[in-house]
Subunit: 433 residues, 2 copies
Amino acid sequence: IANKDGLALKELLQELHFADIAEILEELNSDEATYLIKLLETELTSEALMEVDDDVREKILDRLSPKEIAAELEEMDTDDAVDMIAELDEDIQKKVIDKIVDEHHAADIVELLKYDEDTAGALMAKELVQVKETWTVAGCVREMRRQAKNVTRVHSIYVTNKQGQLTGRLSLKDLLTAGEKAHISDIFIPKVDYVTVHTENEEVARIMQKYDLEAIPVVDENGKLVGRITIDDIVDFIKDEAEKDYQMAAGLSQDVEADDTIWELTRARLPWLVLGLFGGLGSVYIMQGFEEALERFPILFFFTPLIAAMAGNVGVQSSAIIVQGLANDNVKGSLFNRLVKEVGLALINGSTLGLLVVIFGFIAGLDPLVGITIAVSMLSVIIVAALVGTFVPIILDKRGIDPAIATGPFITTSNDIFGIFLFFFISKLVLDF
Amino acid sequence: IANKDGLALKELLQELHFADIAEILEELNSDEATYLIKLLETELTSEALMEVDDDVREKILDRLSPKEIAAELEEMDTDDAVDMIAELDEDIQKKVIDKIVDEHHAADIVELLKYDEDTAGALMAKELVQVKETWTVAGCVREMRRQAKNVTRVHSIYVTNKQGQLTGRLSLKDLLTAGEKAHISDIFIPKVDYVTVHTENEEVARIMQKYDLEAIPVVDENGKLVGRITIDDIVDFIKDEAEKDYQMAAGLSQDVEADDTIWELTRARLPWLVLGLFGGLGSVYIMQGFEEALERFPILFFFTPLIAAMAGNVGVQSSAIIVQGLANDNVKGSLFNRLVKEVGLALINGSTLGLLVVIFGFIAGLDPLVGITIAVSMLSVIIVAALVGTFVPIILDKRGIDPAIATGPFITTSNDIFGIFLFFFISKLVLDF
């Protein structure tokens, strides 16, 4: 299709939704995609560009001139424009901004670029519908029609005082049902949730979810209304966070996808495997230290993968529950209570599993003392693994480190080593080899 | 606080947001919470009830009469009302529905109860703003005011033909700027995304995300507009799904939280640990089969936890990438290409790790042949683990089973067993013991 029959192609694609155009762009090679971007109306391509994968967008932008990029930005809401421009090199950023015709739009973008990446300031858009307390309903409707032109979707109408400070919001229903002469100050709702430009994204997501908001206004240090954040940005944020946590738990660094190159996938996977390898070599070293058991109790060495698996599984379970609890803000109560609970839980699980091991040992004709030793040391390993899995994330969180790094290979590897050492140590004490 | 000073308490809480009331309810015991629910206006408590944890809500509802529950339902949107009533026993459901005063509301609830849990029908609300093609703008505004009373938030205005079939949507902007006498058929947008009552939730979430929709209309088999789904329900759905996948990968069945009882946590954790235990016992059995290596190459047994860890880690990485890719619909290309890619990736990772093992063996003064044997068999284990991790989820997905169950303990355990067997098998071939 993409072989130069411009007009026919244009006609064909012009009718599609931007998300579908985005999917087509991802299937094409960079030159074809760039050709398509240049061919189609910026109104359509700007939205499609925001929708495609980061790496596809990067390649297309590389092939566009600053002026062409500026034309795309012109069509975007400020929040999307900032996201896109932030991906460019700084000197290209300047060139692109210079080429934006609408000065107001350019100034908004420059302002938003200033904010920290993880804060409401960087997430918000400048486009919103704002009315003053002092206006009448009739004046307000007139003004709203004007403002609405720049806003793709009207979520909420925010009310400000003379100084531009946020004082409340206006319901469309109330506006429709009020008399033409009524003043906004009579009908607006003075209670409104808001965040400041410095509020962290995670907190914004929490507030919007808790109160089921579809948009939230953003104010600066002086309470002045400067932007708004809409729920679609939060949906993307929540999904990204969930995927990041999931990948971290699976031992994948960086944001990888099934369709990335082998090289990208290797970079995401290999470091964690090397960590696991060193953990495994540590276990080799520990077992060499207990070599004297080889002669009398070789069965112990058959059980090491089982012990390592139990330590790993219990640790991952405990840490996953805590990491999710911390993210959802429902880890309450004292550390001591949590300690008691985890130990209790580990005792129940560990005893059940220990009993199964003893039964297995009996059936397999194992020396009962050896069977019981294995069961008891496994119980101890489970308790320790549960405590490590629970408290490492809590401690990390208290120190301001993302507790999610304590899930996955990190916790598995350290619990493997701990577990195997503890297993042989206790066995040595009981069996006296 | 909650000791009978009803009036003061009521005054204090009446001003709070329902989400804050919900937090308070979760802190109280069931009797106190029920007391509070009865004390406050249903307008406030109905929303708070939807916000609290399932188990807290269950306990409160147990203590309310059908009539009191009906009063709460009366205040809710139909989608929330259905979610709540679906949690009750069937005979109580009937009693509660009988007590709902608003017959129309009751009929809507009964209708929604019919749909499958995971489909758009069960997720949608009946509350929406609907206008007919044939109306004039003036008539439309009048009718909209009436309908808007039942709708908490107007997201979109849907346009239907005489038969009630969905034909398009109306932008508020166009409505505000059109003349009073214009007909809806002249100004409405005939293109609108929709789903049917039978569309699965996952598909609804995918469409709404792809097209950045904040609400989507739902039609029945005949194209008749019957409801709408709003983005806040999708946000909850996306979060629940992400948490479920995460928990499954961590070896937790059921929807557990850090604050659940020890019993609930045990039920979620123990089954997976037992699975791991049997896997471990399987390894014991395999190693007994290679017992003759104990005398000449005991070092092999020191390496089993490392082999198991590698097999487990690689398997989890591969499966996590595929499971996420399947969920996001970006696993493209033929199975053969994927096979080549995974093997290539495993070769790169495995060779690097194998080289490290050989170097370690050299430093530790290991027989070079043994070192190389371990490295080569580890490489084979990594390749097999990557293939299992990749193709098991794909096969499950093709058979309509949630591929997420193939992450976590399931894949780890089977890869442990496979890996250890393969390791000893190859070692036996090479070292000839």
